[in-house]
Structure formats: C-alpha cells, structure tokens
Symmetry: C2
Subunit: 160 residues, 2 copies
DNA sequence: GTTTTTACGAAATAATATTCGGCATACTAG
DNA sequence: CTAGTATGCCGAATATTATTTCGTAAAAAC
C-alpha cells in the first residue's frame, strides 16, 4: 500500500523546492525546474490534489515567541489495550502544548513532543495535564538543549 | 534571552493561521483577523523580517512518496567532549535521511528523526552510515508505528 | 493641550497566478 | 504503417492577488 502515483524527476524537484520554500512564486519555480509557468502550475496542482502535498505551514522561531522549552517525552501506559490507548489519545489531543504524538515500538508506547514557555510552565503542564491522565503509567522527559538539524525536506532521492 | 518583540492579539492570530495554512491569501487572512489588507500585510512582513516567521514549508504525505519508515533514534557518543560532538554533527549533517538532530538531556546525547523507504533501506542506512560514525557508541531505534498528532501549530496561547 | 508617532483603511498600481488555444510528441488500435 | 487519441508543453490573454501610496484617526509623549 501507499502510493501508485508516478513521480518523474521534475515532480521530485518541485517537491524538494516547495518543502524548503513554499513561498516561491510559480514563475520562479518554473524557471528552477526548466518549464514554463503553465505546466509547472499544473504539476503543483496535481501534487496537491493527489494528496502528495498535504499542506503548507509557516515555521516560527520558538525562542522569539517566548517558547523556550521543547522536550521529547516517552510515555508508558498502564496497559496496552485499545481502550487505554483511546483514552490517552483523546486527552493528548486536548493539550495544545503536545504538538506531536507517535506510537512507537519499544514497549509499545508513545513519544510526545512538548513545547512550553519555560521549565516551570513545562513542569506545571506535565504535572497538571499529562501525568494526570488516568491511563499513564510512566513519563520520561528529555529536554532539548539545542537543535542542530530540523529539516523539513524529506529524502526523496532515496526513492528514485 | 530570546525575544523582545511585543505581539498583540492580532499578531498571534496571524501566526496561528499561517502556521496551519501558509497558503491563505492576504485578503482572506485580513478578513479572518478583522483588518483591511494593507495593515495585515504590513504585520505579516514585520513578522517575517523580525525572524518570528522563519520560513514556509510544504508538508508531504510520506507514504505516498514511498517513505514508509520513520524512526526516532537515541544516540550515545563515546565521549561527550566538544570534539566528538563536532565530528558527530558533521557526519549527521551529510545524511539526508536524518531530518532532525537534537541534543537532549539524559545522558547528554542525541535524538534523531530518520526517514527511509522501508525497513531494509532503514537497516542499510543505519548500518552503513550512522553506526559507522567513529564517535557513536550506542544507537537505540524506535520505529514509529503510527502518528496521532503532528501539529505544526505552536501553543501561542501559553505565552499570552 | 499640542506634537509626534503609530496604526489603519481605501483606492490605484504592480506583480502574479490562472486560463485558454494550439502545437508537438508519444502511445494505441486497426 | 497510419489514423486516432492522449499527454505534456508553450505563449499570450485574462483574472486574481499582492503591494504601494496617501490621507485620516487614534494613541502616546511631552
């Protein structure tokens, strides 16, 4: 499963460019891929309609907006049954500061990415909202000290 | 440290909207925040110039482009001195499949996010490129089974 | 209370996206 | 081999959108 959409070299180049700079004009994009604006736009539209391009997002500087603390949290549930997982996900979805939630292998549990203003806000958040979820057994936090790479560009070359 | 830029309610709303939909037209954005197009654009430009908005990115459907495996990797180095860290970062930066690299608390090591076409490609990548870095001591992979939340919207409300 | 600054809106202009018809190439069926 | 059909492209016309300009009003400073 997955895809059955064939992407040629030009499509891949478009995807690469739009991942690193979504604000490029169609005219400029067309120059960079070596086509005229019309077929360029047609290709982009096709990529959007097919769902290969899901959405477009602005990336913010978290420090500048007063969000100084980012963490990964490894969460273990009390039981790994469907019911507990559903309860957990429902609660997690309500918490804006939890911006990612992935079900991972290991002990069949979750990795969260959490963002807060500072350590004290983070502590408060975890204590009052996350620890408080009934099905949560254990939480292990890793505070991000610095981020050296945060690329929004998927390795398309590896699928050629 | 961090910021000294004052954001009012309108700025925050702009940031919220652009994070979830960067392709909105200025006219539409101005409607949603209740201003006319001119001052809306002026505010967006200010947010861009000040670096609060860092960049704009297209988000792709990894499954549809044939990238079926995403993982978190917890990497431990042989020594935590500056030299070893520099070596590690330099090598990591060369690997396109490693799309994130964060220095985290814990044992003072790194969390990577890695993307590959399938498990066998992933294994090959880790064996031939990541494990191979001289200063790497231990690698622990967590394969992402499914992602329940992957919000690109930072919790701005928590800084109000 | 006056000056200065800042923020806003409306309308004109400029830039850009989008549509349209036509042409070339490649593929298909007879 | 050939007529037919589909696909992908280009260039130009059109429509949409961004951007600038300028005048006004509110807020802040003095």
């Amino acid at each position: 499963m997955g895809q059955n959409i064939k992407l040629d070299k030009i499509d891949r180049k478009i995807l690469e460019i739009l991942q690193s700079n979504a604000k490029i004009t169609n005219a400029q994009l067309s120059k960079e891929i070596g086509l005229s604006p019309a077929p360029t736009l047609e290709r982009v539209k096709k990529l959007e309609v097919s769902g290969i391009i899901k959405s477009y997002h602005a990336k913010l500087d978290t420090d500048k907006i007063g969000l100084g603390v980012s963490t990964f949290v490894y969460a273990t549930l009390k039981g790994h049954n469907r019911g507990n997982i559903d309860v957990f996900l429902e609660e997690i979805n309500k918490i804006d500061e939890v911006i990612e939630c992935h079900h991972v292998t290991g002990s069949g549990d979750f990795v969260l990415k959490v963002i807060a203003a500072d350590i004290s806000a983070y502590q408060k958040l975890m204590l009052e909202k996350v620890s408080d979820i009934s099905v949560v057994d254990n939480l292990q936090s890793m505070v991000i000290l610095s981020t050296f790479k945060d690329s929004k560009v998927m390795p398309l070359s590896s699928t050629e």
